[in-house]
């Protein structure tokens, strides 16, 4: 026991004191935050204001076209035509196409206008024409607007659950997907770390020196637990770091900017091409709801459990792969494939089960330990016990515990033989033989 502790200490300390650990720990959240802030900033500042001159107004355009102060401005000058609109500071000139008899419209411009601008113009034109037609049928515009407002208000549907809570459909989606992705990525990062650690011991030929004082199984478990501790440390630092940044961030982004952005977003609604950058803002806005509306007391323990469980399940397998590889890292590829496939598969199931948490794929994916750490997190966020009954959660957890006991046992056998085997690459067939023997 004492020896495992020594191994754990070494694995933990050498990694945590490494510069790359510090770098990745502090850079990762900064990059994420920078990405969010950056895209928000871009979304606000890169929207070009476009001035468009409307000529040959058939009579109803001036009354009905609405300018948007931040993107498209319609003007109705008298003395502008195709030859001088650029000089007068217009990006384009909108007119009835003289070549066609039917009322078709065309925008002449020197540079092609952005999709967003065209969408806006088309939307406004559609509205203007509709109003014009309605007017001809003697329906007042105000009346129509009030009708549409009333119907919009009354048509709001909320999804109320059996428990009486109102379902929040967006947030669980983000949290479930986020947790799933974090587990997915960390399984690769830390699983790979275990594998490289084992390979290092093998290629540097220290394995036999160590194994003459420590049992191979102790060495493997020490490494797995030590790296798990590194992973948890990193995760904890990330959570603290992000929590601090999330609380500080609103101080840097002025209320004015946020307001401006909200306006911009509202203006985009109803426009097909207008939702580009809204995800960034949603995340900013979501920080408040994050704190209050999610059942963190369930999600955090579950996340830690599946994070650790999933890691332990795969770490031993990665260790056994590392133990049979010789100097050539390319050998790792073919041996790693069978391990990586289920992880990737789990990710695919996650993305479907997040829409459809009751589907058979989601159910089995969250019970079978090969995929459960990733898939179950996506489902849990949707609500326990509303979506995932308690028995499913416990079954899944139980299976995962049994699963990692089994993989650790089997991997220990492969590791014991593999780590002292030089000059020969192990195959899966041979490894199965090693498990069966003794």
């Amino acid at each position: 026991m004492n020896k495992i502790w020594l191994v754990i200490q070494r694995e933990y300390l050498t990694r945590v004191r490494n510069k790359t650990f510090l770098l990745s720990t502090f850079l990762f959240p900064i990059i994420i935050i920078a990405f969010i802030v950056g895209s928000t900033f871009l979304a606000i500042n890169t929207r070009n204001k476009v001035k468009i001159a409307v000529v040959n107004d058939p009579g109803f355009l001036q009354k009905n076209l609405e300018s948007d102060s931040s993107s498209v401005i319609f003007e109705f000058p008298k003395d502008v035509n195709s030859s001088n609109y650029v000089a007068k500071g217009f990006a384009g000139i909108l007119k009835v196409n003289p070549d066609t008899a039917a009322n078709k419209y065309v925008i002449e411009s020197k540079k092609s206008l952005s999709m967003e601008t065209m969408n806006y113009v088309e939307g406004q034109m559609k509205k203007a024409i509709e109003y014009n037609i309605l007017q001809q049928k003697s329906i007042e515009r105000n009346l129509l607007d009030s009708i549409s407002n009333v119907s919009k208000e009354r048509a709001k549907v909320t999804n109320e659950l059996a428990t009486g809570k109102e379902a929040n459909n967006k947030l669980p989606y983000i949290i479930g997907f986020g947790c799933g992705i974090i587990i997915y990525i960390t399984m690769f990062i830390f699983g790979g770390m275990v594998m490289r650690g084992v390979m290092e011991e093998k290629t540097s030929r220290i394995a036999e020196v160590i194994v003459s004082s420590v049992k191979p199984f102790q060495l493997m478990m020490g490494k797995i637990i030590g790296i798990a501790a590194v992973g948890l440390t990193q995760l904890l630092l990330w959570i603290i770091f992000i929590a601090i940044l999330v609380n500080i961030l609103p101080l840097f982004i002025s209320a004015d900017t946020l307001h401006q952005f909200q306006q911009a977003q509202q203006a985009q609604q109803g426009l097909p091409g207008g939702s580009n950058n809204s995800a960034a803002l949603q995340m900013l806005q979501a920080t408040d709801t994050f704190k209050t509306e999610v059942n963190w007391s369930l999600i955090i323990p579950c996340f830690l459990f599946y994070f650790l469980g999933g890691y332990l399940f795969y770490a031993a397998l990665f260790a056994s792969v590392g133990s049979v590889i010789n100097e050539d890292p390319q050998e790792a590829q073919s041996l790693m494939l069978p391990i990586m496939m289920p992880i990737v598969f789990g990710f695919i199931i996650l993305s479907t089960s997040i829409e459809n948490p009751d589907s058979p794929a989601a159910f089995w994916g969250s019970i079978i330990p090969f995929t459960s750490p990733i898939v179950m997190m996506g489902r849990i966020a949707k609500g326990v016990p509303e979506v995932v009954p308690w028995w499913q959660l416990f079954l899944s957890m139980g299976m995962l515990i049994l699963g990692f006991i089994f993989t650790t046992w089997a991997a220990g056998k492969i590791y014991r033989t593999g780590i002292l085997l030089y000059g020969k690459k192990g195959t899966w067939k041979e490894m199965i033989k090693w498990i069966r023997r003794s």
Binding site: T14, E201, I206, E208, V209, I210, S212, S213
Partner: protein, 311 residues
């Protein structure tokens, strides 16, 4: 009194009888040579003695009791042929870590490492990384980490490979010192001149079996071919009559002769004295271990063939 006793040890792998019924014993405080060609089963044998492998059959007695890998490994120091250190780890920390794995307390380990580092003039290495060391330097470090915990049994597999003569001698002296202070040393190598120089007792293993066991002196006598070299002031003109030997060769002022069966060395001397030859030296030529090794191993295939084992 033997520190280690190996009795009828067997270890079969899927395609080879790696160790096939080997027994021997190693006396306390002796330097024991474990010889054998590549692939003879030496490493497998050593791995069983160090508790890395379990024997299929047979048993090992360590210090008079049945060998218990979990508790006894702290009394063993093993420097394998395939050896290495953590490249990215600082040398001092690494030595402390390896000593702790052998059951030493941290401060205890520190003091001992510092003593050894002074002895080997390695004080300035403490904060360096292993990757900064040359092969010879890391070899010295490896030796220190092997013997640091003052094990009862030290197993060294090719300890001098990659060392220059100066450092070889340094290590050799330490091996003698350790033996004098009561450690028992098993020394595995192909380099016969070192074995002759260092070892008290040897065994030779080939194809998983022990084919020779004895003291260095005893083995040499066992394989002597009754060859003598005789040095003359002046080479005799010719051999008259019926000499009690056969000529094997001449070199400068020396004859190398093989005594015929039934005769003794004194008969040879008598013969030359009667001839009036002026003898200045008369030596028995014992075979070198290297010759014996080659003689015994020769004829067996250079590398062991794989075979199906049904056992």
């Amino acid at each position: 009194m033997s520190l280690l006793e190996v009795q009828n040890l067997k270890k079969y792998f899927a395609t080879q009888k790696a160790v096939d019924d080997i027994s021997f014993s190693v006396n306390k405080g002796s330097i024991f040579g474990l010889l054998g060609p590549n692939g003879a089963g030496k490493t497998t044998l050593i791995r069983m003695i160090t508790g890395i492998f379990y024997p299929d059959e047979g048993q090992i007695l360590f210090d008079g009791k049945k060998f218990d890998p979990i508790n006894d490994v702290v009394h063993i120091g093993y420097m394998p042929e395939e050896r290495g250190l953590y490249k990215k780890m600082k040398i001092g920390e690494q030595a402390v870590y390896l000593a702790q794995l052998k059951g030493l307390k941290k401060n205890e380990a520190m003091t001992k490492i510092k003593e050894w580092f002074v002895k080997f003039e390695m004080q300035s290495w403490w904060a360096k990384k292993v990757e900064d060391l040359s092969k010879g330097m890391s070899q010295k470090l490896q030796f220190v980490t092997t013997v640091l915990h003052e094990p009862k049994l030290i197993i060294l597999d090719e300890p001098f490979s990659g060392l220059d003569p100066v450092n070889s001698n340094l290590i050799k002296d330490e091996i003698y010192n350790l033996a004098q202070r009561g450690s028992t040393i098993i020394f595995s190598t192909h380099r016969m001149e070192q074995v002759e120089e260092i070892c008290d007792h040897i065994i030779l293993v080939n194809k998983g079996q022990k084919i020779l066991d004895g003291t260095v002196k005893g083995v040499k006598h066992q394989f002597k071919e009754d060859l003598f070299s005789i040095g003359f002031e002046e080479i005799p003109a010719g051999l008259n009559g019926n000499p009690p030997f056969e000529m094997v060769g001449t070199k400068d002022h020396q004859y190398v002769v093989k005594i015929k069966e039934g005769f003794k060395p004194a008969d040879v001397l008598n013969y030359f004295l009667q001839q009036g030859a002026k003898i200045i030296s008369f030596n028995e030529m014992l075979p070198s271990l290297s010759d014996i090794f080659i003689k015994l191993v020769e004829g067996t295939p250079l590398t062991r063939q794989f075979q199906a084992i049904t056992a």
